[in-house]
C-alpha cells in the first residue's frame, strides 16, 4: 500500500461547547477509496472544511503529500493537489461548462496572471478541457452555461474540474446526492476507475455506492471515528450497528 497520501491525526475543533471534531485520526492510501460515513450532524462537513482549509483546526495535524498543510489556505492546498467536489454544486454559474474546466486547467498549468492572450483562442487550454469533459461524458454540453445544466450534469462538471487539477487525492462530498438511480450507477462505475488515478476520500450517504466502492470505511459519530475497517468488518462491527447502521445492515 505504501505511505499515506493524506494523514490526519488527532484533529479537533470546537464551536463553543460543541466538539464538532473530537480527536479524529484518519489516512488515505494510494489507490484506495476510503469512505467516510456517519449520521447527520456527526461532523462530516466540519471535517471536510478543515481538510480543505475553509476552517482551521484547534489542534492536531493534517499532512498531505508529505507536507504539513494545517496552516495553509484553500488555494494553496488545492495547488498541492487536493481536489474536491462540493455537497451542493459550486461552479462559476455564468460560465459554460467548458470555461469552468478551462479555469481549473489554467490554474493547474501555471499562471492566471496573463493579461493579453484570449483564453478562447488558447488551443492547448481548450483541448485539454474538452478531453476531460469527454471523459466525464459532458462533451456535448460543453458550451452550455453551468447555471443551465441539470443537477446531475453539474455534479459531473465538478468532478471534471477536480480531474483537471490532476489532483493527488480527491475529496468527494456526497457526489451521489440528488442523483437518480441511473446516474448513481454510472457515477459509481466512473469512481471505480478513478481510484487508479488518485485515491478518493468519499463522504456519502448512498450505502449501495459505499459498499460497492470502498476499500475501507470510517464511521464518524459525534465528531469521533468509532470504527475503521473493510466493508465486511464495518458491516459486522457491533458498535457501528448500534450507533449508526441500525437495521439497514
Amino acid at each position: 500500500m505504501g505511505d499515506a497520501v493524506l494523514e490526519i491525526s488527532n484533529l479537533a475543533k470546537n464551536f463553543g461547547a460543541l466538539r464538532a471534531t473530537d480527536g479524529v485520526t484518519l489516512d488515505l492510501r494510494p489507490g484506495e477509496i476510503h469512505a467516510l460515513i456517519g449520521p447527520n450532524g456527526a461532523g462530516k462537513s466540519t471535517l471536510i472544511h478543515q481538510i480543505c482549509g475553509t476552517l482551521r483546526q484547534d489542534s492536531g495535524t493534517i499532512r498531505f503529500a508529505g507536507q504539513d498543510i494545517g496552516g495553509l489556505g484553500v488555494a494553496q492546498r488545492a495547488r498541492l493537489g487536493l481536489g474536491r467536489t462540493f455537497q451542493v454544486s459550486s461552479l462559476a454559474s455564468d460560465f459554460s461548462a467548458l470555461r469552468n474546466v478551462m479555469l481549473a486547467v489554467q490554474a493547474r498549468r501555471g499562471s492566471s496572471f496573463r493579461f493579453f492572450k484570449p483564453v478562447m483562442r488558447d488551443k492547448g487550454l481548450i483541448d485539454t478541457a474538452m478531453t476531460i469533459l469527454e471523459r466525464v461524458g459532458l462533451a456535448a454540453r460543453a458550451r452550455v452555461p453551468a447555471a443551465e445544466l441539470s443537477h446531475g450534469e453539474r455534479r459531473q462538471l465538478e468532478i471534471a474540474m477536480a480531474l483537471a487539477l490532476q489532483s493527488k487525492a480527491f475529496l468527494l462530498d456526497e457526489p451521489m446526492a440528488g442523483m437518480g438511480p441511473e446516474g448513481s450507477k454510472s457515477l459509481t462505475r466512473f469512481l471505480d476507475t478513478l481510484r487508479h488515478e488518485a485515491p478518493i476520500l468519499l463522504v456519502e450517504h448512498d450505502m449501495d455506492a459505499v459498499f460497492a466502492l470502498a476499500d475501507r470505511i470510517s464511521v464518524l459519530v459525534y465528531g469521533r471515528i468509532i470504527a475503521t475497517g473493510t466493508v465486511e468488518e464495518i458491516r459486522s462491527d457491533p458498535a457501528v450497528r448500534t450507533a449508526y447502521l441500525g437495521d439497514h445492515a
Binding site: 459550486s90 461552479l91 462559476a92 479555469l103 496572471f113
Partner: protein, 329 residues
Amino acid sequence: MREAMIVNRENLINVILAGLLLAVPFAANAFGEPFYITLATRVAILALAATGLNLALGLGGLVSFGHAAFFGLGGYVAGILASHGFSGEPLLFGFSGTNQMWVIWPVAVILAGLVGLAIGAISLRTSGVYFIMITLAFAQMVYYFAVSWPAYGGEDGLSILVRNQFPGVMTMRPMSFFLICYVVLLVSVGLFALIRASRFGSALQATRQNEVRVATVGIQPYRIRLTAFVISAMMTGLAGALFADLNRFVSPSMLSWHMSGELIVLIILGGTGRLFGPLAGAALYVAFEYALGGITERWQFFLGLILLLVVLFARGGLLGLLAGRARHG
C-alpha cells in the same frame, strides 16, 4: 446560434457608438459650435474613468464607492506638475514639474496605482457592504486631505493656466484635445477587452461568480482582486489627468463621493461589465445633464428619478435594452 447574433449585434452597436462619438465633434466643428466638442470630450473622459471602474465593478463585482480618489489624484497630478512647471519651483528631487502630457500621464497612472494598492490591500480583506463603505471612507480621507492642505489651493482648487502639451499636437484646439482623449479611450477599451478575454479576466470574472470555486482550483481570489483593483485605479487616474486638462482646473470636487457615485451610475446606465457600457452610460449621462439642464434648474432631481427607475425596473442598462443579455462564452 442566438448567442452569435447577440454578440454581433452588440459589436455593431459598439461600432455605432464609437462612430457617433467621433462624428459629433466633427459636425460641431463644421457648424462652428465648439461647445459640443467640449461635451464630447467630457463624454470620452468620463467613459475612460468608468471603463477603469468597470474592470473592478463589472468584471470583478467589486463595488468600489471610492474611485473618485483615483480620478482626483490623476487630476491633481496634472495640476500640480503643471503649476510647478509654470512657476519653476522645484517639486521633488530637483524635479520642477512639467507641462508635457507624456510625462504627466505615467506619473498619474503610477501614483493612482500605488494608492490603489494601499486602499485595495486593506479594503479587499473585507467584502460586501464593508467593502463599499471602506472604499468610500478612504476616498473621503483623500478628499479631506485635499481640502485641508493649503499649498495647492485647498478647497478652492488649482487652475492650470495653459493646457498641458502633447508633442506635435495643438492641445489648446478643442478638436485636437478631443482626438487625444478619444484615442486614449479607444486604447483603454481595447485593453479592457484583452484583459476580459485573458486568463486573468477569466479568473477575475469567476471570482465574482463564485469565490470559493476559484480558491478550490488553486487560485487566490485576493490576489486576483487586488491586481484588478490596481489596474482599475490606474485607468481612472489617467482619466482624471485628462479631465483636469479639459477644465484646466482641478478641485476637491473631483475627489468627492458624488464623483464616485456618478462613475458607478455611468456603468449602470450603460450596462455592467459591457465593453462599451461606460461609453453608452457617459453619453447618456452627459446628454441628460445637458438636455435636462436646459429645461430645468432642478435637473438633478429628475436625474435621480430616472436613475431610480433604471435600478428598479431596467437593470441591464442601455446596452442591455439594445443588445440583449450579456453572454460569457
